[in-house]
């Protein structure tokens, strides 16, 4: 993309995202969830794609953020909006705290062991939350009623979801432009070598996981309030849906690229909604078939396939550009 087309592309995308609730008011909630999905895929890819650590437990941070915010909203006695925003901040902070604390132990595991270790996180958290009366236990929590007029709620949450997704994207874009990306890519390619070169691997791994946790901890509260009801197993710590979709979307779009997770989340969410509308009863079968087709024909994901086809566009060179 040439120098002036890139900002134009971003501006067009921004305009479309801002206008969307007025262009298609009937599907504001579905579009809000598109941004939630994009945050899922982007944050999963920090570890899974860029660092080579396949996490099945990232949904933990989503749920921790959601519950933390709900507690602030219920008990802090602030108004609706201050309660929500303070709750989001608390949710993000709590999730980062969890990432740092858990990271010391779990990030020492490598490869399959890390994947299996994290698999337990979401499930254990769901069981724990389901048994803790203070946070509603198995019967869940109802989030506070939105104070605005009828119809304003969907628009408000649409923009809030978009804001978190945009913040996630821009933060990762900035982080990936510097040394941090090289460091976590080095860990992905050969962690023993990175250690032998003196890289602070534990620090980088913990920071990477904390970045993912931060944005999941921010989007969790928004999603919880958007849904309006927090169930420990089906909403907050939904390992078998959100937890799996996270990595599915990132792999679908092409892991290890900035845009891959965004594209993957969009394709996944839109086809899922379409299948749900037009193939009711068979929607999961159709989705499964789609995933199989993509894995067979685009094993590197959509952006991964594009990168192999047009490597120059991704800043890679295949010929020896001797100068």
């Amino acid at each position: 993309m040439s120098a002036y087309r890139k900002p134009l592309f971003y501006l067009a995308l921004l305009a479309l995202a801002l206008a969307a609730p007025y262009l298609a008011p009937a599907i504001r909630t579905q579009m809000s969830f598109l941004w939630v999905m994009i945050v899922f895929a982007l944050t999963w890819d920090v570890l899974g794609g860029q660092m080579g650590y396949n996490s099945f437990g990232n949904v933990l941070f989503f749920g921790v953020g959601m519950y933390t915010c709900a507690m602030v909203q219920q008990h802090a006695g602030l108004g609706y909006y201050p309660g929500l925003f303070v709750g989001m901040a608390a949710g993000g902070a709590m999730s980062v705290g969890f990432a740092v604390a858990l990271g010391w132990g779990i990030l020492g595991l490598r490869g399959h062991y890390f994947a299996i270790g994290t698999l337990g996180l979401g499930i254990a958290a769901a069981e724990f939350a389901g048994g803790w009366d203070y946070i509603g236990a198995g019967s869940g929590l109802v989030t506070p009623l939105y104070p605005g007029v009828v119809g304003a709620r969907e628009t408000f949450f649409y923009y809030l979801c978009f804001a978190v997704a945009a913040a996630t994207f821009l933060t990762l874009r900035w982080v990936y432009a510097g040394r941090f990306r090289l460091a976590i890519n080095a860990i992905r390619d050969d962690e023993d070598k990175a250690e032998a070169m003196g890289l602070h691997t534990t620090l980088y791994k913990t920071v990477a996981w904390s970045i993912a946790a931060l944005f999941l901890g921010l989007i969790g509260p928004v999603a919880g309030n958007l849904i309006g009801f927090i169930d420990p197993r089906d909403v907050a710590f939904a390992s078998s849906s959100y937890g799996v979709w996270m990595l599915l979307m990132a792999i679908l779009g092409g892991k290890g690229t900035l845009w891959g997770p965004v594209v993957g989340a969009a394709v996944f969410h839109i086809t899922q909604e379409l299948f749900w509308t037009y193939l009711l009863g068979w929607q999961r079968v159709a989705l499964g078939l789609l995933i199989m087709l993509i894995v067979v024909f685009f094993p590197m994901g959509i952006m991964g396939w594009a990168r192999e086809r047009w490597p120059e566009r991704f800043g890679q060179r295949v010929d020896e550009g001797a100068k």
Binding site: A183, N185, D189, A196, M197, G198
Partner: protein
């Protein structure tokens, strides 16, 4: 001449298999020292013990006078004691330049060193060192697409990027064609003389190691069999019997 690395009575066993027994060696500052011995004689295990890959059973490893046998791998590397691997290890999914740019010495982490951009002088130095090993023309290629010999050169350049005081090289010429070997010997010598990097080299190619090293240690069955100047080692009957063979 002060010894920059001192290994004293190092002992390392894996269960019943004794890999290193009572091994002592010294690397004086600024020197090139060779480590030879038959396959399975414990050379790479000794390297692993020195750089903290695994705990040692007993003995001492001192680097610039400091006991390092209890430190972990990255901490030892940050002191300036670096190793390369027998099975070449580079970051295959990254370009040669990126491999180099992530390899400068890692001091104490700061927000800037974590999230900052690659400073221009680091990129300049990376290009200079790639030029030094003859990979400049390939600097934008993925490191994983290079040939094995080129990957060895890249690994060597990455090590130099880290500005080590002492570099442990595990078979630097294995799998490299004869033309490239001559170039590599020349570069190893220049790294030693011009950049002041002390070298401890494991090598099976006798003409290379006899040529490069000023002093040799020979291991056999995990024990130090002989040590001395290359000429003395070449004519040492024990070394001939255990390793070199009669010819």
């Amino acid at each position: 001449m002060t010894a920059i690395l001192e290994v004293e009575h190092l002992h390392k066993a894996f269960g019943g298999v004794v890999a290193n027994q009572d091994v002592s060696l010294q690397v004086p500052e600024g020197k090139v020292i060779g480590l030879i011995g038959p396959n399975g004689s414990g050379k790479t295990t000794l390297f692993n013990s020195i750089v903290g890959q695994h705990p040692i059973d007993s003995g001492a490893v001192r680097f610039r006078g400091r006991e390092i046998s209890r430190l972990r791998v990255p901490a030892i590397a940050r002191l300036g004691l670096l190793r390369t691997f027998q099975q070449t290890r580079i970051y295959g999914g990254m370009s040669c330049m990126q491999n180099m740019e992530i390899s400068p010495p890692h001091g104490s982490p700061t927000p800037r060193s974590l999230f900052g951009h690659i400073p221009a002088e680091v990129s300049a130095k990376a290009e200079e060192l790639l030029q030094f090993v003859g990979l400049y023309a390939k600097r934008h290629l993925l490191a994983g697409d290079l040939s094995f010999g080129q990957q060895k050169l890249l690994e060597f350049a990455m090590a130099l990027m880290n500005e080590p005081t002492l570099l442990l090289l595990d078979e630097p010429t294995a799998g490299i064609n004869p033309t490239l070997i001559n170039g590599l010997i020349d570069r190893l010598r220049r790294a030693n003389e011009e950049m002041g990097v002390s070298l401890l080299i494991i090598e099976h190619n006798m003409s290379v190691i006899m040529n490069l090293a000023e002093y040799l240690y020979c291991l056999a069955h995990g024990e130090l069999l002989a040590e001395g100047e290359p000429e003395a080692i070449r004519s040492d009957q024990r070394v001939i019997d255990a390793y070199l063979g009669g010819h």
